[in-house]
Symmetry: C2
């Protein structure tokens, strides 16, 4: 049985999955990233996990490695990542190939998630598919004609940094009114607190520093202000999704990531906005669906991408 | 020699081109559209032109027909066109196949122009390419992996109706802040007049109802207000182009259409905005270039699309 190791590097944890040729998970785990120790130390800890895991070292045929940020898959480089301070211009593919002794590929985490959802989740069997990952940041991945679309620079699919409100709030990327600046986790919390203050209330209803999860629970329990904050968030998401429909016209757009845990609180107003905004009924047939693979989407996707590369070489 | 007839149907004129297998123009002409007479009458006039033209009737192997609007190439239908009032749900392919007695295809005019520019103009040899056509409306066409990308609905590439300023001016499509509402010909003229009034001047400097061409000539002659209107237009274009780069990362984006006649008055501020807005130097390597085929782009492109379909059948 061919096993591929998927390594999904986040700012806090590295999620690990042993994935077979069918995309089935044969083992999984989680270790600390400790970005300050550098990529070689992280790769060594991944090797140690693999040695201790059921499969044992040497049992894998290849590895796929993903993280947030600008990843140049062709050259195997991580340019820069918002979560991994100091990991700049890292030859991430080489680092993991040396540590694990198998061929590796590197990919942006949202691209990996989109590929995973396309291959094994919400986008199965579709020709054209888009997946957005909502969290602190907003990532995107695009499948065209059944292949991950990277564009000529390798960095396509950055839907989170497409501007939908040119005079809107400042984004971490330096622009105003990117989707991420409007629906990233921080923007949602600030929106809710602003609405609460506008309604004469105080933030204490949701704790001193509320999270999207806390707001989501509050909204589900009938908190009108929290619900309104999600409705407004969903409206912004819908404007961005209508843009995706006008430009890419995919069969479906899947919404994943932690913030997507709010479910229909966000998705229903997003769907309504898409119906309002797209020019034609035929376009409105696009389905806006929840992602299906949760936080395993990226390591499944990047494993299958690594498997595909391995098969090309054989 | 295989000749294809390209039929580019505008609101006023139908541009006609006889194109050979290499994309070379072997004859061309222009007849009135007279949309009120209906599509069958227009097709009959195209047939009459062909009979009188040097090639003579019967000499063509296929026809490609394009117009603005929502064109369903697969089913051969025109859903609706902004320029052709009353041409709703027209089986345009059948109409032209009956009139001309050869296989026909139908396509959106901006898609046709993008394909023409990719095959024979500003996008030659590129893998991923985008072409925007600026005029009264703003059309877009997307080439992915060397093929015209239509998406799952058939209506992809509608970059003119992607929202970049959600609280912006109302668009003909019903949304606010679409690119078309910000840089369509009418928006440019209104911007210039508004700036002139703001500066205490009157519109008479450019005539009673100035055109983009008149403004362009004025700006080239040193008219500071007209130049400022184009700079602002170029900035909006640049925001939309940065979005295209973030989502599609093409090798180049070509800008055509009548409004593009303003050239660097618009393109230079657009390029500067793209450089400012895209997240990474590698993305900024995208080239923003003038389209090369002028108003022949669509009939060349749709002819070559028809030729491609013909070769598939053979």
């Amino acid at each position: 049985m061919t096993l591929i190791l998927g390594v999904d590097i986040g700012g806090t944890d590295i999620k690990l999955g042993l994935v077979d040729g069918e995309g089935e998970i044969r083992g999984s785990g989680k270790i600390s990233t400790r970005p300050a120790e550098g990529p070689e130390a992280a790769a060594a800890r991944v090797r140690a996990w693999l040695a201790e895991s059921a499969a044992g070292a040497g049992a894998i045929a290849a590895a796929g490695v993903d993280c947030a940020g600008l990843v140049d898959g062709e050259r195997g480089f991580l340019h820069v990542s918002p979560n991994l301070v100091g990991w700049k211009n890292v030859p991430l593919r080489d680092v993991f190939e040396r540590a694990l002794g198998v061929p590796a590929i590197v990919e942006n985490d949202a691209n990996a998630a989109a590929y995973g959802e396309w291959a094994r989740g919400a986008g199965r069997g579709m020709k054209n598919f888009v997946c957005l990952t909502l969290g602190t940041g907003v990532g995107g991945g695009v499948i065209v004609n059944g292949e991950l679309y990277r564009g000529s620079s390798g960095f396509a699919g950055e839907i989170g940094h497409a501007v939908i409100s040119a005079d809107g709030p400042l984004c971490a990327c330096g622009n105003r009114g990117c989707l991420e600046a409007l629906i990233g986790a921080r923007a949602i919390v600030e929106r809710a607190i602003g609405m609460l203050r506008g309604a004469g209330g105080s933030g204490n209803a949701w704790g001193d520093s509320p999270t999207v999860e806390a707001l989501s629970r509050a909204a589900a329990s009938g908190d009108a202000v929290a619900a309104a904050a999600f409705r407004e968030t969903g409206r912004w998401l819908g404007i961005a999704l209508a843009n995706v429909v006008h430009i890419l016209a995919p069969e479906a757009i899947a919404i994943g990531g932690g913030v997507a845990g709010a479910g229909d609180l966000i998705l229903e107003p997003a769907r309504a906005t898409v119906r309002d905004c797209v020019m034609d009924g035929a376009m409105a047939s696009v389905r806006i669906v929840p992602a299906e693979l949760g936080n395993r989407a990226s390591f499944i996707g990047v494993s299958l991408l690594a498997l595909g590369r391995l098969n090309e070489r054989r």
